[in-house]
């Protein structure tokens, strides 16, 4: 079995678990935790997608010596693009999580409750 496929499957499962958490947990902090699991799942999928069987990290001075002919580099490394994307995604994820938690703090300060059903003022 390919590492990439394992990573992608785990990623999907994490997403399912995260969504489960988001949809069933009453506690808003737990919902944010669900999100963070969801995010981790996303990242795993992305990294898994970029994995090339037997590839090394896309850094040219480690496993692949400098001066290697370009064609060999292509054969030797994993796809760097998804990794670049994941870097961005992780930081964005942190931003979102932090902001959600900031909202949680404010919500809690106002109403002293962490139950999501206490915040249904706006509806219909």
């Amino acid at each position: 079995m390919d590492f990439g496929q394992i990573a992608v499957s785990v990623g999907f499962l994490l997403i399912l678990i995260g969504v489960w958490g988001i949809l069933t947990q009453k506690n808003i902090i737990k919902i944010v935790i669900g999100f963070s699991v969801f995010d981790t799942g996303l990242h795993m999928i992305m990294v898994g997608i970029g994995y090339v069987k037997g590839g090394t990290a896309p850094i040219l001075d480690g496993a692949i010596a400098p001066g290697t002919a370009p064609i060999n580099i292509v054969a030797g490394i994993v796809d760097p693009v998804p990794q670049a994307l994941v870097l961005t995604a992780i930081v964005i994820g942190l931003g979102v999580t932090a902001l959600m938690l900031a909202y949680v703090v404010r919500l809690y300060e106002d109403r002293k409750s962490l139950d999501i059903s206490s915040y249904e003022d706006l509806k219909w």
């Binding site: 079995m1 995260g18 795993m44």
Partner: protein, 82 residues
């Protein structure tokens, strides 16, 4: 072969911690479990030949987020207890 075993057991651990993170009633345990998910994922990233991602996930996903979670927990629990 060894790495495959590591990878699979890592996956099982990740999923187990994720379920724990989502299902447990104890918020502290949940936050730690979520942090663990990230941490083990970053080990997984190393196996997937993604050291950059691994570093980032470790520093940000399991490090900083967990810290922020704890700040918030502290803030909220302090209120709950008195």
């Amino acid at each position: 072969m060894l790495s495959l075993i590591i990878m699979i057991s890592l996956s099982v651990l990740i999923l187990a911690s994720a379920i724990l993170a989502v299902q447990t009633k104890n918020l502290v345990v949940a936050v730690i479990a979520a942090g663990l998910v990230s941490l083990m994922a970053s080990i997984g990233y190393l196996l997937l030949a993604a050291p950059d991602v691994a570093m980032t996930e470790a520093a940000i996903g399991s490090g900083l987020s967990t810290i922020i979670f704890f700040y918030v927990l502290n803030r909220v629990r302090g209120r709950d207890n008195g």
